[in-house]
Each structure stands twice: as structure tokens, then as C-alpha cells.
Symmetry: C2
């Protein structure tokens, strides 16, 4: 039943379109040439479209985590008060980076599967009458738990207070609406290996005018991630260091595909995949970690296994027998849940295929199901 | 005379072998899988071979500059005294990063084309009787000027003094001998897009036991570049962030090729290319910026144009008429010199071809030469 064709159903890295993969198999080029500047500006334009921003987009080589670090290191100073909202692994990481940079971090932490409660945020901000909170850190979509926050609600509260809002949008950009400028997001971070359908290696960081004002006050050491250095080179369509050309070649293709598909359509595709996975998995007896579909991640669905079944046994059987790679739990949820990614270059055909293999898997592991139940539920949407 | 096949004669990025380019056109994979760990360890082993070290090799996503920043941010603290040796653009950058991180930086700066004078270094270190200099920053090979330092001589002096020696080996590793452990180099940085014949995107940082001791004392903020976090994940063959798989796929192929060629042979190849370019260019009336061949970079040759000729006119004619891309000067040398790279996946055939096109170029720009002079000089070696 197994062949060497693995279906990657992870919340990143994602399957890549053939033209994106092929684009990488090209000679490198001079990154101090006019040709490079033109490619750079095309990618910058695509990222502005994805972020829905007219403000600056800076490109940080490395990974999404580097973008989160850049956001903190460029806008804050040691001793600054920061409110970190966390519902899982990546939210916790965002707060940890701030702590390591010497911020005084107040954390609002939610149980896994829960989203940020707006009333709690409002209370924290209202209590800060001296306006000492300099920034609020938010994970828009938490991939470890499969939760999607009401970012607009949070952003409105922060905007009214006056603090900066720094948003990890790594797994949310292009899977859920996140109009940077309309929602007054000061910094939004996205990364090439998520909905962009490209390989890892590059993070995009959008910087609002207010974030630039904060930059001018910030007293933290940085060089490769420094906004002003990045901006200075970006003005010429260059990077301050040697950029990874293949990642740009890939993004050129995938951004063309995404823009041809359309912003609203890309987001609708992810929402449809999420609904299909939830419906199909529930028909097999899986229980979503996130109860309310409105709070469910558009890029990854987190599921408790059917009663009496082992999450890791399901995951390994699906991989070893059907070559479908889904993710396991992270942190406290390790071994307790499975996570099915539906992100990037995925079509409904892969979703139905995954649900079918999942059905066979639970059946082969002894669970009684109605044949075809998973796909039937998904198709009924 | 021109076709769409550009010869990239830069000091990085370099031409890539076909199998390296093709390796990138592959599906992404789960970076939390055993398969990834095996690939990670294979690349780690290749980098240890290139660095000639038994100590730790950490992998820093981004670019060589990130590796330089990691070296400083992980071993030093604000106020530490640092001796920065500079003979050009990249040496200056190394010192600048240290300044931005709050070090008290004493610079020994040399005219472009000169190498570091060991007597000056000895004098600086001898004068430091209180042993306040915590680290010495060295660029092994300065690509902006085409100079190669006597790294062993410098390292011996620093070792006797007791300071750390942090070495930018980005363009020197595998082009000139740099046995990390034998020479007591505490941190050596290399990068994927130079002699490794792979795309940009990854830096290698080797860390000596003494550098780990310094890490324990260091008080600087960092997260994505933190040695302990990197090492903790590396123990499992993982990265703390999502790695750029295509860069690893490429390195797997190119490191196999390089190891099959042999350490001594790879270095000898670069030295031979350097000698051929110097000889050929001099036969056309170019004057090397670096007088003594012993001090000449093994990866890039810097040349003043023949008397009365314009460096940029030569460079642009070579590019526009023969599609051979060489580099121009950087900083103060902009417009004054040309730089011919001979690095990575280059064979003597490309060197002879470049010299031949260079000969035609200067002839077509009005310079009188003996036909075949450039290649004849190179072939005579």
C-alpha cells in the first residue's frame, strides 16, 4: 500500500507546486545586480499583498522565529513592560524572546485549545492607567493547539490603549483575514514556508509608522535583523547579507499563483479545508480540541483520538501504511492529540484522500466506523 | 556573441553543480522526523570536515553575517574589550557588529590590499598586561580586497595571550587551510554559498570548549542565534526553527562531491585558479592590488585595470558582450578595481575562458595586447 509518495499534511512545511520546486533548480545570481533588485521588489510587492499593507515590508533571512525576534529587538528596550498573550507553544516562545531581551513580561496564558479572552485583555489594558505597557505580543494562529484568535478585537483594544501590537502571523497570513493597515497592526510577521507555498528560509516583517517611531527609541543590540539596515538596503532592492536566491525564485512562482487565485479565494480555500477536516474527523469519532469552529485554526486541525484509541498509534499507522504525514501534539499535548495540517498547496482532493486513509487507519486499529463516513461528512458541506 | 548562459565569476554566490541544483527541486519534509535528523547529521559531519574540527558545529540559518553576529552575541558582554583587525569591508563589519553589541572595540586597520601585520597584533596583545582584551576578531580572507591573512600566525599570538579568537572564515574555508582545532580557533564561521558549492541560506559556526566557557559568562540577549538553544536541538538532529530544506538537500550533494575530491585537493584547486588568474591578468597589463602572492586571496583576485583603462567599462563590456559576470570594487575601491572570483564549482576551463574573454574585452576597448597572452601565461604555470 505504500509507495515513495508522501502526502505532507503538516502545518508547514507544506507541499510545493511543481513549478515552485523547479524554479529552485536554477543558477544563482549576483545579488548586487539590477536583476536581483527587480526580483526583490516583486517579492516585496507580493508580501505587501499578503499582509494587506501599504507600509514597509522588511525581509529577514532565517525563519519565522527570526522575524519574531526582529520585532522585539527593534521596537523595545530593556525594562519595558510587555503584555504577552499565549495559548500554546509559539505564544510562549514570543514571550520568552521578550524576557531574554530584558523586558518585564506580563503573561496572559490560556489553556490549550482556548483562545484569548478579550475581556481579560481589556482589563489588563484598562488597569494600565500610567500607560506603561509598551507592547502587546499576540499569536494570531497558534499551530500547536489549532486556535485562531479574534485579532481584530484584540487589535482594537490595543489601539485604543496606545501600545504597540506585535503579531506573529506566521501561520495565519493568507489562511485567515489579517489586513495589517486596517486593523492597525504595528508589526506582522509571516514566513515563506506556510501559506506562501514556498520553502522555509525567509520571514516577512511589516512595519507601521508607529513601529518606526518605537524603533527610534529602542535600545537593544542587533545587526543582521536591524530595521534601518534592512530598510537602507531594501531601498536599492538589496539585502544587507547574501540572500538565499532559491527561496526567492520559489516565492516568485508561488506568489504569482496565489495572486492569480485571489486574496479572498485563498482564505476561503483554507476555511473550506478546515471545515472538511473537522466534519470528516468527527464522523470517525475524533473530538476537536477547539470546540467552536469560529476559534479553529484555518491551517491546522487538532483532534483527540476516538475514545480508547492512542493518538501516536494512529499517526504512525497513517504514516507507515498510507504514507500520509500528519503532526503529533507539542509540549503537554504530546501523545494526546493529532494535528492535521491543511495549508499552502493543498486541494480538497488531498483532504478527502487524507480523511479516507484516516478512516482506514482507525478501522484497521480496531475502531468500528461506517464505511465512507469521513468523506461523506466532508462532502456534505 | 551573447547567449543566456552567464558565467558567474564572483566571490560568491558561485556556479552550482547540476546535481546540487536538481537536489533542491524536491518536496519539503518534516523537520521533526528521524529522516531530517539523519540529513542534519550528515551536513554537520561535512561541516566538521570542512572546518577540520572535532568540536561542536552549530548551524545558523540566514547568512554568514548572522554567524558573525552569533559569534559575538554568544561569547561577549557589553563593555568587553575587543581587538578588531580589519583590512576591508567585511573586517570593518565584524568590528561594527561588536560595537553595536556594546563592546569597547580597538581597531587595527590596514590599507586596502594589505594584510594584518603580526608585529602590530603582538604589540597590542603584549601591551595588554592586565589581560583585558576578551576577544580578537579576524577576517581570514577579505573578499572586498582579495587578501588572505596569516591566520596561524595571528592565532598563535592570541592563544599565547589567552583571548578568544573569533574568525570570519566565510570565504576562506576550503579555499585556504584553516584547521580549526590545530590552530586553536575558538569560533570559525563559514557559509553555504562559498566554497561549499551550495546556495546561500546557512552559516556554520564551530565552537571550541573555551568559547563555550565564554558563553557561560556572556550577558547579551539572543534567541534564534543562541548557542545553547541551537545545541539543545542539534543533539536531536533538529533546528530550533524551521530549517530551509532545499539548502540542506543541496549541501548533501555538494559535500559528497567535495569530500570525494579531498580536503587538500579542494584547497589546491583554489590556489591553482588564483595563480592562473593573476598570471593571465598580469599578461594583459592588469596590476594585482595584492603584491605578494602569499597574501593573495584563494577565492577572489583584485586587479587594477591596465594603464589608462576604466575598471567599470571593462566589467560592463565583459558582462554585456561575453556574459561573464565579475565583481567591481566595494567601498573606496568602487570603480577602481575589478574582482574576479574563482570559488566553488569552478574548473580551470572556466578560468581560461574568463581570461580569454577578458583579453578580447580589453582589446575591443582599445588596449594593445599580444593575442593569446592571458591564457598562455596561465597555461605556463
Amino acid at each position: 500500500m505504500t509507495m515513495n509518495r508522501q502526502l505532507l499534511m503538516l502545518p508547514g512545511p507544506t507541499p510545493l507546486p511543481a513549478r515552485v520546486m523547479q524554479a529552485m533548480a536554477a543558477p544563482l545570481m549576483n545579488h548586487r545586480s539590477q536583476d536581483w533588485s527587480e526580483l526583490y521588489w516583486e517579492i516585496e510587492k507580493g508580501a505587501k499583498w499578503a499582509h494587506q499593507t501599504q507600509h514597509d515590508i522588511l525581509m529577514v533571512a532565517g525563519a519565522g522565529t527570526y522575524g519574531m525576534e526582529a520585532a522585539i529587538a527593534n521596537t523595545l528596550s530593556p525594562g519595558d513592560k510587555v503584555l504577552a498573550l499565549s495559548m500554546g507553544y509559539f505564544g510562549t516562545r514570543f514571550g520568552t524572546i521578550a524576557e531574554r531581551y530584558g523586558m518585564e513580561v506580563d503573561r496572559l496564558t490560556y489553556a490549550q485549545g482556548q483562545v484569548i479572552n478579550l475581556a481579560d485583555v481589556a482589563a489588563k489594558l484598562e488597569a494600565d492607567t500610567a500607560r506603561q505597557i509598551k507592547a502587546v505580543l499576540v499569536t494570531h494562529n497558534e499551530t500547536s493547539t489549532g486556535t485562531l484568535n479574534d485579532l481584530k478585537g484584540i487589535a482594537d483594544l490595543v489601539h485604543a490603549h496606545g501600545a504597540l501590537i506585535l503579531v506573529d502571523g506566521i501561520s495565519s497570513v493568507l489562511t485567515a483575514p489579517c489586513p495589517t493597515d486596517d486593523w492597525h497592526i504595528d508589526i506582522l510577521i509571516s514566513a515563506s514556508q506556510k501559506s506562501y507555498m514556498a520553502p522555509p528560509g525567509l520571514a516577512f516583517v511589516s512595519v507601521s509608522p508607529k513601529a518606526w517611531e518605537a524603533y527610534a527609541q529602542s535600545k537593544l543590540p542587533r545587526y543582521a535583523l536591524d530595521f534601518e539596515i534592512l530598510k537602507d538596503f531594501a531601498n536599492r532592492g538589496h539585502n544587507p547579507w547574501t540572500p538565499s536566491m532559491p527561496v526567492y525564485y520559489a516565492l516568485k512562482e508561488s506568489m504569482q499563483m496565489l495572486q492569480a487565485e485571489g486574496y479572498v479565494q485563498v482564505i476561503a480555500r483554507h476555511e473550506h479545508m478546515m471545515r472538511a477536516v473537522r466534519a470528516g474527523a468527527q464522523a470517525l469519532g475524533f473530538r476537536p480540541l477547539v470546540q467552536d469552529e469560529a476559534n479553529a485554526s484555518r491551517c491546522v486541525t487538532t483532534l483527540y483520538p476516538p475514545e480508547g484509541m492512542d493518538a501516536e498509534a494512529i499517526r504512525m499507522h497513517l504514516l507507515n501504511t498510507y504514507n500520509v504525514m500528519i503532526a503529533g501534539g507539542q509540549g503537554d499535548l504530546m501523545g494526546k492529540i493529532v494535528r492535521i495540517g491543511h495549508l499552502g498547496y493543498q486541494s480538497m482532493a488531498e483532504i478527502y484522500g487524507t480523511l479516507s486513509c484516516l478512516e482506514k487507519t482507525v478501522q484497521e486499529l480496531g475502531h468500528v466506523i461506517t464505511p465512507g463516513a469521513a468523506v461523506a461528512a466532508a462532502l456534505a458541506l
